[in-house]
């Protein structure tokens, strides 16, 4: 009997060992996986109890955690909620996180590995864990000017402003916007209502049009076509190009026409300078055909097309069509057909031209600092591509200044500031009103800011001047906000 009892003793050890092994697997190895699950109330509640770091713009919080007296210790609040909504994103118990709240989450809640030392000190001194602060590159005056310009007119659209020399995002606005405070509230019933309403809203207020929506860039894409032409060395601003009122598209019965149905500059030929000044479709269509789709795509990609930009906000890639035929190439050269660009992308085109042809990588987070203001992360500007040579950039700048001084960009003129710009309108279909575009940078001789403005539903007028008239003043206000501040 004793040998049987001894075997039972071993069996009992194995039973307990199996329990220990299983518990070890769950608590040591599977723990991260379980803690990260969405349906885990413990970790979600805990996150809500953390003193989350603020998101700062010029030293002022645009998102911060304030002590709260309800079921959670802190309430996330957004000063100027709608103005910054698409940048900060929201921090919600029910619906997770978005924007910077999402991408910088581990820094904001203090769980990032770079904060491990800080956490240790907090643990020893018995202090509550405090998250790091995230300072954004935004310029509050530029952001306000951009938001006001769009929101006051009830425009649907977006504005992106970049520092051409660094790639820092100075303004990023999308309208219609929403108030993230509604989503971050602890009154979960109200949060759910607000969320459902925002989701059902046909105007899509939660869509970040500045980085996550692509539009046909229309005539603003002529800058890319022009850059490709100038880069060949076979063209300069005085090169004569065809500029008829109507151009026969090869292989089709369709024609390419100018907006006003007339030729550009009074004859069927014009210099490139005049063609850009008047945003001459036939000239640029012809130019596109002469250069070919590969040259256009190469140039577009040097400006950042085809890459996801600003992943911090989930930015999408802008596109140039893969294999367009001849009429499609001509259409693409003037920013129609399947060319799609985000407002950010078109701001990058202007910024690269402004920065002597060098395209800087756009970024939004300037620095991350611990609660006791120790900097743990600082973004260094980074070059992406040499989009065009400095000489070509200089020629483009000169021609863009002319657009504002003498051409379609006149509504954006600022006294005493040399402004370079390009207007655009883009049609999606005959039934929909066109999009109005304006891309620009200033001052032209020492650029401090590059701006792209897009307005959906830009009224019924389909002339190119509409882009300048609607979008131009907003760009002007943003530029002034940046220049006057500096």
């Amino acid at each position: 009997m004793n040998s049987a009892i001894r075997r039972l003793a071993v069996a009992a050890i194995f039973l307990i060992l199996a329990l220990l092994a299983n518990a070890t697997y769950t608590q040591a190895f599977r723990a991260d996986d379980l803690n990260g699950r969405n349906d885990n109330r413990r970790t979600r509640d805990e996150q809500f109890s953390v003193d989350r770091g603020p998101i700062l713009v010029a030293g002022q919080p645009v998102a911060e955690s304030k002590p709260s007296n309800d079921r959670y210790v802190y309430q996330r609040t957004y000063a100027n909620g709608p103005q910054y909504a698409h940048v900060t994103g929201f921090y919600s118990y029910l619906f997770g996180r978005s924007g910077i709240e999402q991408t910088e989450n581990s820094q904001l809640n203090g769980s990032d590995p770079s904060l491990v030392f800080r956490r240790l000190i907090d643990m020893i001194t018995g202090q509550r864990q405090q998250g790091a602060s995230v300072t954004l590159t935004l310029n509050p005056r530029a952001q306000k000017a951009a938001y006001d310009g769009l929101a006051k007119n009830n425009y649907h659209g977006a504005v992106v402003a970049l520092d051409p020399k660094t790639g820092a995002v100075l303004a990023s606005v999308s309208t219609p916007s929403y108030d993230p405070n509604l989503i971050a509230s602890h009154d979960l019933g109200k949060v759910d209502n607000a969320w459902q309403r925002l989701l059902k809203d046909p105007d899509k207020p939660m869509l970040n049009r500045a980085e996550r929506e692509t539009y046909p860039p229309g005539s603003t894409f002529k800058l890319v076509t022009l850059a490709a032409a100038l880069s060949t060395g076979r063209y300069n601003k005085d090169t004569q190009v065809a500029s008829p009122a109507r151009m026969d598209l090869p292989q089709t019965t369709a024609d390419l026409t100018n907006h006003n149905g007339r030729n550009c500059g009074g004859s069927d030929n014009a210099t490139l300078l005049i063609a850009l000044r008047n945003s001459c479709n036939t000239s640029f269509g012809r130019l596109g055909l002469d250069l070919g789709p590969d040259a256009l795509r190469d140039q577009a990609e040097k400006f950042g097309f085809g890459e996801r930009q600003l992943p911090e906000l989930g930015g999408v890639a802008s596109q140039f069509p893969d294999d367009p035929n001849q009429p499609q190439t001509a259409q693409s050269a003037i920013g129609q057909y399947d060319v799609r660009g985000t407002p950010l992308q078109m701001a990058m085109v202007a910024a690269a031209i402004a920065n002597r042809g060098e395209l800087m990588k756009p970024y939004l987070v300037a620095a991350v600092r611990t609660a006791d203001l120790k900097t743990i992360e600082q973004t260094k500007p980074e070059a992406l591509h040499q989009a065009v040579s400095p000489e070509v950039a200089a020629q483009l700048t000169e021609m863009m200044v002319d657009v504002v001084d003498n051409g379609t960009g006149r509504p954006a003129r600022i006294d005493g500031v040399k402004l370079a710009g390009k207007t655009g309108t883009a049609q999606v279909s005959d039934s929909r009103p066109p999009y109005a575009w304006f891309v620009s940078f200033a001052p032209a001789d020492d650029p401090k800011v590059a701006v792209a403005v897009v307005i959906e539903k830009a009224g019924v007028e389909r002339s190119d001047i509409a882009g300048g008239r609607l979008a131009g003043p907003i760009a002007r206000d943003v530029i002034q906000a940046v220049i006057n501040a500096g």
Binding site: N2, L19, Q27, A31, N40
Partner: protein, 453 residues
Amino acid sequence: MSASATSIIQVIPRSRRGVELMLLIVALVVAVGAYVNVGITMQGRVPASTGYYAAALVVLAVIAHVTLRLRAPYADPVLLPCVVLLNGLGLAMIHRIDLAKDEATAAEQLTWTAIGVLLFVAMLVAIRDHRRLQALTYTSGLVGLVLLILPLLPVIGVTRNGSRIWVNLAGMSFQPGEVAKLALVIFFAGYLVVKRDVLALAGHRFLGLDLPRARDLGPIGLAWLASLGVLVFERDLGSSLLLFSLFLVLLYVATERSGWIVVGMALFIAGAFLSYELFGHVRVRVDKWQHPFSDYGGQLAETLFGMAYGGILGRGLGEGRPDLIVYSRSDSIIGAFAEELGLTGLMVILLVFLLIVERGLRMALACRDVFGKLIAAGLAMSFAVQVFVVIGGVTGLIPLTGLTTPFMSLGGTSLVANWAIIGLLLRISDQARRPQLPAAPVSEHTIAMAVQK
């Protein structure tokens, strides 16, 4: 099996009650410390009830200890401190979850602890020699059977959480299955003492295993059917499993034939397969085990989240969220410990259980009579199986079956029954370790009598 009394060198056993006292002090300090810790983290102060709680626990421990000194001085010194530790920790955790839920069940559990200790004392006082219980073999069998059937009776039987294992009497509810465990072990042991020689006879040899003869399969078949009956009519997966494995263990110890284990396993697999195919409630259990996250806030999901949240070192008593787990005071209490004391605390608890099991088996080894050996081995293994089934179920190793965690879970019957079991084990232990009178010369007469037997 026979313990040889012919050896010249006599080990002189010491009573070891002093060791027990030291260990008891450690167990009490930990238990009361846990209670105070809960108060400090959850209420910001040492709970006012600490004095009452500590005094009650100390008095009960002292009563148990003094009883051992007087009535079973040579009993194992480790068992009682282990049980006091588990019981005390269980009380602290129940109190902690009471605070979170704004309820008061810990006081009730303390009362049941007192009743348990009294029963423990009663066992030691009433049973002077465990061998006398052998006379009660069939009575115990009958009592065990009645206790198993009791919840099925109309009026007093109650169905709770899908299982019909409760009895309501005079406004109090009991889980008679816990007491049946003790009665049935006595029955099995008494029965096997008589029948072991027959059942140990070699049968067929197959693949290197001695398989029993077909006509000897009667008893194990009955045990199997009884277990299935518990499963079918009371929907109590855990008790069913425990009942069958107890019989199997005792059969194996009595006959030393691994063939019985093979037969038993085959029957178990057949039973498991049948019940999975036939009974919806078994399928539901298996399904919930395989897909713990399919419904929000499920018992297993919340336990797993709690375990992950606790991690290796635990959140600390009062710092976790064990109240999110259903039945966190009863079936799932081990999940609460895993969350607040971490993997480390869980390991300690599991090792204390292992210690109880191994000490019990040691008593079986040391015991000089077959009946005592079988009872000790059976009761010790009942803890092993019960702990494996309930903790394995709660932590997701096997499907959840719904048994109590001995000494920790909220629930009077289980606590009292397990204290009684410890009383019986210590009685056997005392008998086993008590110094024997020097072996008297064996006379021809006694040998003749022994042979006749």
